[in-house]
Symmetry: C2
Subunit: 334 residues, 2 copies
Amino acid sequence: MSKESTTGSAEERLIARYFKPLATHPGAFGLGDDAAAIEPPPGCDLVLKTDGVIAGVHFFPDDPPDLVAKKVLRMNLSDLAAKGARPLGFLLALALPAGTGEAWLAPFARGLGEDAELFGCPLLGGDTDHTPGPISVSVAAFGTVPHDRMVRRAGARPGDRIVVTGSIGDAALGLALRRDAAAAGRWGLTSAQQEHLKARYLLPQPRNAIAAFLGSYASAAMDISDGLAGDLGKLCRASGVAGEIDCARLPLSEAVRAALTREPALIATIVTGGDDYEILACVPAAKVADLQRDAAAAGVPVSEIGRIAAGEGTRLLAPDGKPLALAQSSYSHF
Amino acid sequence: MSKESTTGSAEERLIARYFKPLATHPGAFGLGDDAAAIEPPPGCDLVLKTDGVIAGVHFFPDDPPDLVAKKVLRMNLSDLAAKGARPLGFLLALALPAGTGEAWLAPFARGLGEDAELFGCPLLGGDTDHTPGPISVSVAAFGTVPHDRMVRRAGARPGDRIVVTGSIGDAALGLALRRDAAAAGRWGLTSAQQEHLKARYLLPQPRNAIAAFLGSYASAAMDISDGLAGDLGKLCRASGVAGEIDCARLPLSEAVRAALTREPALIATIVTGGDDYEILACVPAAKVADLQRDAAAAGVPVSEIGRIAAGEGTRLLAPDGKPLALAQSSYSHF
């Protein structure tokens, strides 16, 4: 019932061995102080986000630890990207069951370090505890935007076009394949297509490459983590507008398209399954082409899929033009 | 295996009902966006800290939820205080077992809100998940200090005096009483003394009142969370110096003094038990009286208990002047 950490303790050795090498920011003091100190760039606001994962809830206990580390960091980076923020660093809170040893920690720290470097988002500090529960990893991530320029959920206006980055539904079908291997046969997927879907579930590709200019075009944005349908609902409620999506225009990977052809009902999984970590944005019609051009130059496809109108509520039109009936708009355990 | 949150879901209702009222900072956007945005005061560095508690590890599952909330926030506030930082706000990551209902959440949120207001540290955002494990609460807290003025662990110099705020050992004996009710009889404690010790365990009193001027006097500081002996060891290792404490000079509450008189071996628990959330600081000899005067004006007693010397290692001298032999310098589950 006391905080667990000792002089020269196992915790100190664990931190020194696995996490100190990741604390490359001078303000992290090599994890040798009680707190980090960073100097925010002048004229910038700090964007703050926390998100985490729990074994058995958000990831499979036997998922590769390096990918668990990358996923939880990328989940947070994806939010920073959608808010137009440049990554600055992160804090890590780790709860580990007794016996979590090198076999898990070494690859976890390696994966975390690789992505911290890749995305320019160094470890600033952390907290490590033992837990009688499952492995739990929580990240608090920080980014910067020019003052007052965080891209909000609440800025969508009637007439805006709805756009998304990348492709939708891959991770949801990847998760479905993890749960039901026989689905691959029903959907007629090649091995490469199966691997594509599973990889998209395991390792998000956050769109930080477009964060720097997203705010120049988008009136509102958020990342898609809980399913396109539900997240669009949140954005529209925050903005006080209505939104409509043509499912026929959804950007789908070859694998998702193949599965959907065999099993048209999968459209519900695709738009509600979540874990996409793409950006959903609302953009004035006159700016869509410019955003698409800049994003393409940054290697990120942007597709127009719908429009914002006055009013409230969201509607997804199936390829036949009829509104899609969804049992629920997002995946939920609640 | 997907993030849990839905449109108009139980999670959204939970957040709206219990936590939105705490998000009083304009940059929290009423918890209605994906991230918070704050404008750091010009000329200031941001101090970042994360610390958390897990039921059955850091608190008893039947501890009052409002005090659990206050304790986890105050643990972080105590670090900000020891670093000379003024609280700015915090992020909250909450993992809740199924069935955690209003009976726990309502008082938890009430306690959190009371302390957020008391310490001027508003809720900026958060993450709520279900867990198959125990209740887990993680806070990432942010404070500000004038640029480059965070009080470090690493600044202690030979000749500095070692000082502590408040009194040492209360929480450790409070915890011991929780675990072994018969101890109260052995120690000859009055009911009021027992209540004092238990209250000090349940509810830390972080010393944020002296944060604004601590850095004007202290060459190094940290908060005492893992036991005075172990935390002094960390500070001395970080500073590359040796430290010596006279246990006869330790500030002890009446209750701790009473128990120690009956059971002198308790000195080990007092200096290693942890959960003090007092500030340990190293101060040039010429500045001790000034710090004591300013701290007293802020309602915080500061006691000189030892000195820093060249070399390495730490030594605690028992009241008889002989070095205290400690089996371990901090409480640890590792």
